[in-house]
């Protein structure tokens, strides 16, 4: 009964959605409204104005840098909320975490340990080259975070957490927020507006280092946050 009612409701809901979709301009046409207002400017002037050959990075870090600054604050706040929800003292039966939940086959362990350096190199490349090739801070950071989670699964969290001791971790988690604040205030002191990058003049050489700094902050912070969320959920004190 409940299922039938739900299905009827969904079919009812699909009618206006499909009707709206049928009125939209065809997918892939170049005179699509999303492609006509601000985007031509980004595509033509982007490399010149921002120093990013990758226009997606130019949009994220430069044209919409405030958005991204707010967003790294969102993910940091989410981490704090996860800690608040999970890391309260638990009732008495606090059991020791086993090294890993399921026995790990030596094959998995070998593969993760062998691939780890290559994965790290790839993500570092993505982070520091994000302004000119596909990739960027979020992508590279998430790759390192996923690697830390994989290592925790095969080697146990205790051993993986030794890579990032607690004192270091506490500073890496807000890295993105702190880096945005540092670069933003520096931009304000030098160029008059928060988070502004040089467009021309004697400080032009600072532009790419600024972008790279922000990317590194996002990457390091993202990796630490993703791994810490996993550790907090697992119960090993993120």
């Amino acid at each position: 009964m409940r299922r039938a009612l739900t299905l009827a409701l969904l079919i009812l809901a699909s009618v206006p959605l499909l009707y709206a979709v049928s009125l939209l301009p065809p997918v892939g046409s170049e005179d699509n409204p999303t492609y006509t207002y601000v985007v031509p400017h980004y595509l033509e002037e982007g490399p010149e104005e921002t120093g990013c050959e990758n226009i997606v990075t130019a949009v994220i870090l430069n044209y919409r840098g405030f958005d991204t600054g707010g967003e790294v604050t969102v993910i940091f706040t989410a981490l704090m909320a996860v800690f608040g929800v999970l890391l309260i003292p638990r009732p008495a039966e606090k059991v020791r975490q086993p090294e890993s939940a399921v026995p790990v086959s030596p094959v998995t362990l070998f593969i993760v340990r062998t691939l780890a350096p290559f994965i790290v190199v790839f993500s570092v490349y993505q982070i520091i080259n994000g302004h000119s090739t596909p990739g960027g801070g979020f992508q590279g950071g998430t790759i390192i975070g996923a690697l830390l989670i994989a290592a925790s699964l095969v080697m146990g969290s205790e051993r993986t957490q030794r890579l990032l001791p607690e004192g270091v971790r506490r500073w890496l988690q807000p890295a993105a927020v702190l880096m945005f604040a540092v670069v933003g205030v520096t931009g304000m002191l030098l160029f008059g507006e928060y988070l502004s990058y040089p467009i021309e003049g004697e400080y032009l050489f600072l532009r790419v280092p600024f972008l790279t700094l922000v990317e590194i902050g996002i990457g390091v912070g993202g990796a630490a946050i993703v791994a810490s969320i996993f550790w907090a959920m697992e119960g090993s004190d993120g």
């Binding site: 409940r2 299922r3 739900t6 299905l7 409701l9 969904l10 809901a13 699909s14 959605l17 499909l18 979709v21 049928s22 009125l23 939209l24 065809p26 997918v27 892939g28 046409s29 170049e30 699509n32 999303t34 492609y35 601000v38 985007v39 980004y42 595509l43 982007g46 490399p47 050959e53 990758n54 226009i55 997606v56 130019a58 949009v59 994220i60 919409r64 958005d67 991204t68 967003e71 969102v74 993910i75 706040t77 989410a78 981490l79 909320a81 996860v82 929800v85 999970l86 638990r90 000119s132 090739t133 596909p134 960027g136 979020f138 993202g222 993703v226 969320i229 907090a232 959920m233």
Partner: protein, 116 residues
Amino acid sequence: MRALWTNIDYVASVILFLIGLYAIMVKGNLIKKLMGLNIMETAVFAFVMSAGIVTDGDAPIMGAGAKPPFANPLPQGLILTGIVVALSTSALALSLIIRIYRQYGTIESDDLWGVE
């Protein structure tokens, strides 16, 4: 009808969205509900991304040898932001579910009606 066929990418997002909505409404397990929410988020991302498609468009990276047309960079940037926010909400929801399980020993919403 023809318009629906040329906009098949959008139609796929609508179907994905409804699948997610179904999971939220019908499934009792909180984790399955969260999965439904994630499917809905993915549908919205796919919808916005398809609005940025340009037929035969290249990646919007202006290195040597780049030639127009380029795909629309704006939806890609917005959705990158959106994915990270979706990650944050999923993490928070999952940790709330873990907490509910520790407190009440169940994550079936039907069983949770009765508990104090």
